[in-house]
Subunit: 338 residues, 4 copies
């Protein structure tokens, strides 16, 4: 942190700032310029600093944060890429990992039809919602534990892993019994009690970006999980909310290379929620891989017009096959395989 | 809902759309224009309609939602204003209600000093966080149950009500023992499990607007609580996230008259979080009242520079007194008192 | 500017940064901390510094801007409020100034009816568009010079000033012949050629905030005009673009106290464009005055349903009278009159 | 347009709406449902309809726009792709077109060094600013006509086309003498006088998306140019303004497939302005091509640390070569060449 004093700041004001820093266990490094004084804050105390606490002290012009507030999630802490291995699947390795399945689990039969296709075309992870967060209380809320059982049964049948959402601390134990990867939804990215609970477990977590979350807040949410001891965190970019309303959300493809630079954790992209429109899913999946994503999560349904949830953004199994073919051409451009 | 067909839509396509509607229990009203056919959807079936399900049918140009997806929260359902009475305090009545207190409860003594001032100047409700949602896992997370006890003790001493945040379903029973109003924080506005839990209780709920929540989503979150049977919901505008970063958030003052029009429920404003800057709190509190807010929630601290959380946005007790004086002039302009 | 070096920055890298600063005519003030080196940049050279030029130098961790990039528009340059006097009207003085009139000038008769009412109720400035910026090329584009003549004639008849929009450098001379205040529309806030042209004149300029302009960019656009010698600039907050689409724009009321703090120039608010909805205009006008605005610009039309442009956001003359009555109650709360 | 009446709308109110439509030259198609009446508007009158004019009529619940307000720019008007041919270069054809060069023209020598490299690596169009729109009046504003001369001379030397910005109607004739493609900058996307002027010429126009422009507004700005007779319009996605401030703008990659669907005009992407960060330019250029862009415009500088403008977002010539190699792998995935 750097504290910049006003040009008119008095000696007394400067000393009070330094005293406040010392009291919180930090070293203050003063440098007096021709026109103003700048105070560098060094050392790492147990008391975190809120820059705004200093901004309101008399004589202070501006306070500037220097170091990132996250540690475990950052590349500074761990320069090499984290590869998360779950049975025979690696996330964050050389191969791009495909996660596919319906928005919501509707029945074992539905799931079997879809899993059978997507596994044949190259998906390694089966997605599907058993507990569904829905904006309206009057819409389908998911099959619950029955859905979880279907996911496990069908995934095992085709040698797939399972990723599914957990919405609340009360569900974590149950969902963790069935799933290989626990998904934290966009609306829960800052449900800190849920993040802390997941941090005390070993199951991998896929952390979706909140609709209005900055990249730094997203990293801090990963930090919540990691601070509890669980370092198996996968980011998932799924679009942010902007003024543009042609698409459901605006997919922030640039977040992919940014996360790859700032963090060692893997990142996947979800073009189904990122766009909300079937015919935009494939171009955006290609874009995400071209930008460096470690995987793609995509909603696939054999009868999207009859889907209980999000049918319009689900692609057909044959479109998934077509996407795989295109990604196999693109991946080598950046030294990846699929 | 109105379904607009393409100019080139075939008779077969039109009939398939009508069949899909009928199957879901709706009446379809067809009107054939010179250039295209428009299908009006009437009736209210138990199966809610997702417009996107129809947008993807062949021959469909556009689907337009007509009626609001919320019911209990809307003025159509209940035209007269809801007034929430808790002991001798009315929220949503003629008098504007002031809620004041520290961001976080730090000690009984701190709380007593602040409560003593704000109650003297006219506050009716004591605010203060016992469980604090914090972006970083390394910052002060609140005193927990000890904080709740302080809130209750001090509030009773000065004849105040208590409003405090509940972050998770696991905390609701405990917090409800101490508080008169349970606050749902902005980051939890779409924590649907929490909303459902609160809907099964009788304690009033103050529902903060999410950082990127549309007004319609906010109304739907209130609907979640009301659908469970708890109709004591108070909205709280606290700023949305925009590109402007001079302020912490952009307070959407226009949400106040909009909510007053669309819903019968009361709405208060929180200029402390809405701006994040002490010297903007008072002007924005005035603006909120001038725009029609039923109350103001404001952070007050006698020593903001020593506060454990959000000191820079807390006003001094004397500033609170000054604000009260100004609001007493403004309220009559819109037929209110304070 | 403060340049923060990496913890691993070499002596050579530090020296290169200092050399780059010196070469551009700045003094570099080096301070070596326990973990890293911070370089303060002092002095004011003729070559402005782009922080990003230094961010890309090897060994640099972060570059932090300290001083505001605007000068003439800032309170540091001129601490006391600027009051713009045009004939017997003062903008930025103790009295709140009302600007009212139709969105577009349609005929002399229409303008006379409206001007007659609003002047009677207390407006001092007549607004009305002669050249209209329209999103679609197929909508009414304004009466042009004929509209300007009507504005002047009618305003003189009722002792009002004229404010009207100028869209392009080619129109400035013509519009300046008829108008007392030249309005720069939101879409032109960064039309730098237009700003430079206006800077070379003496006529007052009302500078609307761009739909996605930060407060700092807005101040810099004022700086463009002032740098040319014209210091008669009035800011006008008219809403920014956000994700919320219930209103046409989100009016940023907090911009009012912020501008009043950062700049000495007056600021008015335009709740007609700020909300786009008639029944929100009055509450938002009240809010703007309560927050400290120096004036209100509002669209008034006696037959809004027949207006050629923006009828739905125009209020009726009687509503304008009602607004005036409310503002007369509110203004004294902040030491203002109307 | 479809006008949905209130459930309580009276016969009289319905008839007044129909009368208002008829008066404006439209046919009204009435359909009376069980609960409400819906009025379809058919025909195309010369008077465009503002939906808000009808929303304010008594008894109207909602007005819904059906057909797009643009015509010439839409695929409905012209289903096949527009290919713009300038000498031997095709924009919008099978080959992806590369535009490269410095942000600002600084000297003929600088331009020659850069043009020599990028033409060797495969660029077909030389970019460079002679007139620069700058947020601050105190920064480098471009070389003006001297810069234009350098562009033409150097481009001809290497067989390249020239694309450069025109900021104001007063500059169009001059810039058109030197350039093959006239660029309209993001801040000028709704400078309607400039758009109309360009519409009366034959030179191709590259229309950058405004920072807060919706896709529909962007299409309407193209419509302004085309309505004047100039159909040679190229869209350029360069990032929109969002809450995320790690990048300068958020590049909206999804705009690429959306524009390709809604319009027949070509679209290119500018990852330099889209991200503002050198190390994000290459991943985002790859993403844009993978999403279907017809071309890429990129800032290249041999000495970015000495550039007078935007050095930090310029890539080195060798990075441009590397990008070309990657794009050659990606293009065939979507049936394109480079």
């Amino acid at each position: 942190m750097v504290i910049v004093m006003n040009e008119q700041a008095t000696e007394d004001q400067i000393e009070k700032v330094i005293a406040a820093l010392t009291q919180k266990g930090y070293d203050a490094h003063r440098s007096t310029g021709a026109t103003r004084t700048v105070i560098g804050v060094v050392g790492l105390s147990k008391t975190p600093l809120d820059p705004r606490e200093f901004e309101i002290l008399p004589g202070v012009h501006e306070v500037v944060r220097i170091s990132e507030p996250y540690k475990l999630a950052g590349r500074v802490f761990k320069p090499e890429d984290t590869v998360i291995r779950i049975r025979d699947v690696e996330i964050g390795g050389r191969a791009i990992v495909m996660m596919a399945g319906p928005c919501a689990v509707e029945s074992e039969k539905q799931l079997d039809i879809i899993a059978s296709s997507v596994s044949r075309y190259g998906a390694r992870i089966l997605r599907g919602g058993a507990y569904k967060p829905r904006t309206s209380p009057y819409t389908f809320q998911g099959l619950g534990e029955e859905g979880l059982r279907h996911l496990r049964t069908v995934a095992d049948r085709y040698g797939l892993l399972v990723v599914t959402e957990v919405m609340d601390t009360s569900q974590v134990t149950e969902v963790a019994e069935y799933a290989d990867i626990l998904q934290v939804g966009a609306r829960n990215m800052q449900n800190f009690n849920l993040l802390k609970d997941l941090g005390r477990r070993k199951t991998a977590v896929m952390l979706k970006r909140g609709l209005s979350a900055t990249i730094q807040e997203w990293l801090l949410s990963a930090e919540y999980i990691m601070a509890g001891g669980n370092h198996n965190v996968i980011f998932c970019e799924r679009g942010i909310r902007t003024f543009e309303n042609y698409t459901r959300n605006t997919m922030d493809i640039s977040a992919i290379p940014i996360i790859k630079k700032l963090s060692h954790l893997p990142i996947v992209a979800d073009p189904s929620h990122g766009t909300g429109l079937r015919d935009k899913v494939i171009p955006m999946a290609r874009a995400a891989v071209a930008a460096g994503a470690d995987g793609i999560m995509v909603e696939v349904h054999h009868e999207p017009e009859a889907a209980l949830s999000d049918g319009p953004q689900s692609i057909y199994p044959e479109q998934f096959a077509e996407l795989m073919a295109q990604l196999r051409i693109i991946a080598p451009a950046i030294g990846r395989a699929i």
